[in-house]
């Protein structure tokens, strides 16, 4: 991955991490810090509660990828839509979805963000323009294209951020979507969160084309590589892409190179990669680096950061308590929300 980044063609613009001077306001840095810290603590706690069997099913955590959610959210509007895959707790929290409701969803409680019906893979919130939370690898790519299609149809200048992993980039749905999005100038921002591994299979083992941004070039789609360990870099690239899209120029594609510290899911010990490789990324940890930037440039004091951390730790603790104390859904909820039609005649024998 790293060598690929260096040898990429001149067509590619790489948004570098860590600008020399802090280019953003104190509020912005603290907002990034707070969101990334919230996601990290939420995920750590989710893993812990999974270990205690309070959380079941599949559970894919976002630890290491927090800068993508942070840099993206600060560069788009609340009215814009987002759709993503199943490693999605961080994306939902980035949207502003309630921490309590998200934690309760992991517990399968009726106070969960989708009433305990979705679990770890399926958070949705119409209020936050968050379209999920999708479990079929790559299926959200045409869906996000369609969400964006509807924005254009309705005449807004909103866009839809359509996120997927490097595994999904090998699905045919990507090519069909890229093709139609370009042909119809659909306002969609495609983001591949390239964390290097489709479950246990490295990007290099899935194709001879290992630089995923190049797949956009086949459709003449503006495509860039972005350092996903830096909220600044993500913010800059997403801002540039959003401007291009809102001007009516059609889609844009960002390959955001990131890394997950944990396995694919809670049941994956990730033996397919070396300790050194993981450490290499942990050395560039987005939260630590942002903290460094904030302190080095005296954007805020260590005490101010501590205050944020304490607030978040309290928030997560509270979310766990909320989830623990909430009820599971009643059995009758099984028959709800299958059809909009209120009197749908289910077969019950």
């Amino acid at each position: 991955m790293e060598s690929g980044m260096d040898t990429a063609t001149e067509k590619k613009k790489t948004t570098k991490s860590r600008s020399k001077k802090p280019a953003y306001s104190k509020e912005q840095y603290l907002e990034w810090y707070e969101l990334m810290f919230r996601i990290r603590k939420f995920e750590e706690r989710a893993l812990m509660m999974y270990g205690q069997q309070k959380i079941r099913g599949f559970c894919h955590v976002y630890i290491g990828q927090e800068a993508v959610a942070a840099g993206m959210e600060s560069a788009i509007r609340k009215e814009d839509a987002i759709v993503t895959a199943y490693r999605q707790h961080g994306t939902a929290l980035g949207r502003g979805c309630d921490t309590n409701a998200c934690m309760a969803e992991l517990y399968g409680k009726k106070t969960g963000i989708v009433k305990g019906k979705g679990g770890s893979m399926h958070f949705f919130s119409a209020e936050h323009r968050y379209f999920g939370g999708n479990g079929i690898v790559g299926a959200q790519i045409p869906i996000g294209t369609g969400i964006a299609f509807a924005e254009k149809y309705k005449g807004t200048d909103n866009l839809c951020v359509t996120m997927f992993g490097d595994g999904a980039a090998r699905q045919g749905a990507l090519h069909e979507s890229f093709n139609m999005a370009m042909a119809w100038k659909i306002p969609v921002l495609y983001i591949v969160e390239n964390n290097g591994y489709a479950m246990g299979t490295s990007v290099e083992r899935t194709s001879n084309v290992t630089e995923l941004y190049k797949m956009g070039l086949a459709y003449d789609m503006p495509s860039e590589v972005v350092d996903g360990m830096s909220p600044e870099a993500v913010h800059e690239a997403v801002s540039r892409a959003a401007e291009h899209i809102r001007a009516g120029n059609g889609p844009y594609y960002l390959e955001i190179r990131t890394y997950r510290y944990k396995g694919h899911s809670v049941s994956d010990p990730a033996k397919y990669r070396t300790k050194e490789e993981v450490q290499q990324y942990k050395d560039r940890d987005p939260i630590k680096i942002t903290e460094q930037t904030i302190l080095d440039h005296k954007i805020a004091t260590a005490e101010e950061l501590k205050e944020i951390e304490n607030k978040i730790k309290e928030e997560i603790k509270e979310a766990v308590k909320f989830a623990e104390e909430s009820e599971f859904p009643d059995a009758s909820a099984l028959w709800e929300e299958n059809y909009v039609q209120a009197d749908y005649p289910f077969i019950k024998d």
């Binding site: 839509a81 009433k115 019906k117 045409p142 369609g146 964006a148 149809y153 749905a173 299958n338």
Partner: protein
């Protein structure tokens, strides 16, 4: 006042009327716009509604079905036309994993009001890949509704109801019947999804069918009548939800039933109906429910093999007589 309309024109009226009524309705699919539809169902619609609302897609069923799902989740009412349901197999991920599950997995945060439509079933000597029926495939999935009807008047009213429905609907038509003409009422009307129609009243035996199998079934009823047997013919029109009550009510009257179903026998519509009848009309049955399906094989090309594969009036009459214990 009624006038005669071909099925394709009745479907065209349904879509056009709904598009005039609701700006969020649009049509997309292969050849629907400039070519006027592979089977001319959308003839003239591009001229009336323009390329924003009548959209030619590339040959990418998975992709455009998914775009339809996303658009439906975000406030539009797409009509996605498949040139045939055989090609929709490429889009089943979007229909089954997304359209059908949007409401449940989002616990009602998002709805998916979309219509997937196109022809289903055999259409002459089109061989294995272009001759399949998909009613029972789609009807197996909670979250979906499935309509299968070739009567022009009913198909029009059902399609209009499907477009207004807030749940995803799969509509199965028929290549062979697009030119079939019958009376269609003037003016605005809807046909309720989930209700069967009695096409012929009878007292001795109930023949249940749907889509184009209505024709050999009515022909069989006519042949039976000549032998003094009064057959009641029910056209399901909707497969999911199935109109169980209409079927049970009919069997209570006739005490016998044959299901005529162009799909394969295993775990199909006919099997579901037989289950319902043995469960809810057991005491009224004078004979086991039987069925006439397509053969449990792929459909080859040669005309003799097509003939052997499909239900026809003779096979239906034979099944009816078996049910009446009249076979020698």
């Amino acid at each position: 006042m009624a006038r005669k309309l071909a099925l394709r024109d009745a479907l065209n009226e349904a879509m056009s009327e709904e598009m005039r009524r609701d700006e969020t309705v649009f049509l997309m699919g292969e050849e629907v716009a400039e070519y006027n539809g592979a089977y001319k169902v959308s003839k003239g619609m591009l001229d009336e509604f323009g390329p924003k609302r009548v959209i030619d897609t590339p040959i990418a069923e998975l992709g455009f079905a998914g775009i339809g799902v996303g658009a439906a989740m975000n406030g539009l009412r797409p009509i996605v036309e498949f040139m045939t349901w055989n090609f929709a197999v490429l889009a089943f991920d979007q229909i089954v994993n997304n359209a059908a599950k949007t409401l449940s997995q989002s616990a009602g945060e998002f709805q998916c009001p979309i219509v997937f439509r196109g022809p289903s079933g055999s259409a002459g000597q089109l061989a294995q890949q272009h001759s399949q029926t998909f009613e029972s495939w789609m009807a197996n999935v909670p979250g979906l509704k499935v309509i299968s009807c070739v009567d022009p008047a009913d198909a029009k009213g059902l399609l209009k109801a499907a477009i207004r429905d807030n749940d995803p609907v799969c509509m199965m038509e028929s290549e062979m019947m697009y030119g079939y003409e019958a009376e269609v009422p003037e003016g605005e009307y809807l046909v309720e999804i989930g209700k069967a129609a009695v096409r012929r009243e009878g007292t001795d035996i109930t023949l249940v069918t749907f889509n184009k199998m209505i024709f050999p079934t009515l022909e069989a009823a006519e042949l039976l009548a000549k032998e003094g047997i009064s057959a009641e013919v029910i056209d399901l029109r909707t497969i999911r939800p199935l109109d169980h009550k209409a079927l049970v009510d009919s069997v209570k009257k006739t005490n016998r039933m044959v299901v005529i179903d162009e799909s394969w026998p295993f775990a199909g519509v006919s099997a579901e109906i037989a289950y319902e009848i043995q469960k809810y009309a057991f005491d009224y049955l004078d004979a086991p429910v039987t069925r006439v399906n397509a053969a449990d094989t792929s459909l080859p090309y040669a005309p003799t093999l097509v003939e052997a594969y499909l239900p026809n009036a003779a096979k239906i009459v034979e099944a009816a007589k078996e049910t009446l214990y009249l076979n020698a």
